[in-house]
Amino acid sequence: MTGATRAEYCVVACAEAWRGDGEVLASPMGLIPSLGARLARLTFAPELLLTDGEALLVRPDGTPEGWLPYRQHLDLVTGGRRHVMMGASQLDRFGNQNISCIGDRERPRRQLLGVRGAPVNTLNNPTSYWIPRHSRRVFVERVDVVCGVGYDRAAGARYHRIPRVVSDLGVFDFATPDRSMRLASLHPGVTLGQVREATGFELTVPDEVPASRAPTAEELRLIRQVLDPAGARVREVAA
């Protein structure tokens, strides 16, 4: 171990989402997933495609290598050669995700973004999630509006897959018989009790919970010197 911060563990845990994906578009939403996607591209997943967040496909140094306006991006989603990591205002134990609104739909207590592309994403390409602050407000028994589709509502959806959920406390997946959420690894310094306390539903926990993978020295160099020299990552995940 090399004195990596929690935020740096999170970057690596997000990067790992794209391991083995091959030549597909990595669509990260949020700073830590963006750092993760670019870290993966620079290390173990060199075939990944990345965008500039607008209409260009770019190499890690920013050189444009392709054009991807929103209309083509939506076509690419349905073609399936993409792995998106979205945020979630709420996420339940089967991976249903809400970014639309909280409370009554006719007159919400809190209007959020809207369903955006969550329905098309979850039915067409692998969709992972990033939760910067793991709490019972996010990890709920039942989401108020199903935007991203979870495993219990995905019967017959042939391309539906939620590879992982990364939070500031650990990594989660759905590798259980009923496809409910499972703790896959804990970030260092995080206890099982802490995760249970911050999760509003029954989580499957293996007998031996692995530790999240530590960043390598080269990964730390890339994060600190190349990808985020200004240290913006601590604003998303405090040390």
Partner: protein
């Protein structure tokens, strides 16, 4: 060639309450804000608005002009949640027919192709089906037998879009990195109004820029409005970026105060108020 040049005021005069109005751009990007302000100055209300929503939706919702909104999101991009839209929703001021981004695009495509629907692999399993109980599914007649959402055509009475350049007959050109969906909005509408930064001679459209920038075809356009800075305060690359400082003012000022300060007069008054206010 017919000269289709008109003014924002005349465009608004041609619209009627109760219409289904499509608005181009995306979020806080290349929105036809000068045309939206003309709609605000007119008495038009009870609108069904179809938009990848930004401050266009925020302003019309705050002013109580929207009865029904068809959208996948409303955002100011650099400010994720649109505060005036949000307030309107939280007081139950409009009906929201929420669609996925791709369903919305397929709906515009269906309308542009004069199809009643297009099958789309999005929506099933999500609450989009609960929110829009009129949505139906369609099953593939081939051996895969897969079930899809039959996304109905989003046919529009009128479309408002803003581009960088246009000629007098309605050929519209975008010069930034993304066309968004403005051509589809025009093709999906019975009448379509294009505002632009500058009206130029037809020959000038391809004088500097490649023909692929010619996004909008004149046969889909009813009227052309020259509106310099007509997307303000949204972005209109490469002519100008988003006016982030003014957008912050918009987002943090209570609506009645904002409307009184910036929208009470004509567009000349808006421009000078913006000049003073930023």
């Amino acid at each position: 060639m017919r000269d289709k040049t008109t003014t924002a005021e005349q465009v608004a005069t041609g619209l009627r309450s109760g219409m289904t109005l499509g608005i181009g751009g995306w979020g806080s990007r290349r929105k036809p804000m000068a045309l939206v302000r003309a709609v605000l100055r007119s008495g038009i209300t009870d609108l069904t608005v179809v938009s990848y929503g930004g401050p266009d939706v925020g302003m019309l919702a705050a002013a109580g002009r929207i009865r029904r909104l068809v959208t996948p999101f409303v955002t100011l991009d650099s400010i994720p949640l649109e505060p005036h839209y949000r307030a309107a929703r939280e007081r139950g001021a409009l009906t929201l027919a929420e669609m996925d981004e791709a369903m919305f695009l397929w709906g515009l495509r269906a309308a542009a192709h004069r199809l009643p629907f297009l099958p789309v692999r999005a929506g099933l399993g999500s609450d989009v089906m609960r929110i829009n109980p009129d949505l139906r599914t369609v099953t593939s007649p081939y051996e895969d037998g897969e079930t899809f959402v039959a996304m109905p055509a989003l046919r529009l009475d009128a479309a408002l879009v803003h581009v960088n350049r246009a000629d007098r007959s309605g050929n519209g050109q975008y010069l930034g990195p993304d066309p968004y969906f403005d051509d589809l909005f025009c093709a999906a509408a019975d009448t379509a109004y294009v505002s632009c930064e500058r009206i130029v001679d037809t020959a000038e459209l391809t004088g500097q820029a490649p023909p692929q920038t010619l996004l909008i075809k004149r046969h889909t356009v009813t009227g052309v409005v020259e509106a310099p800075h007509g997307a303000h305060f949204t972005s209109c690359a490469p002519d100008y970026g988003r006016d982030e400082s003014f957008q912050r003012t918009y987002a943090t000022t209570p609506w009645p105060e904002f409307a009184a300060r910036f929208l009470a007069g004509d567009d000349q008054a808006y421009r000078s108020a913006v000049g003073e206010g930023t």
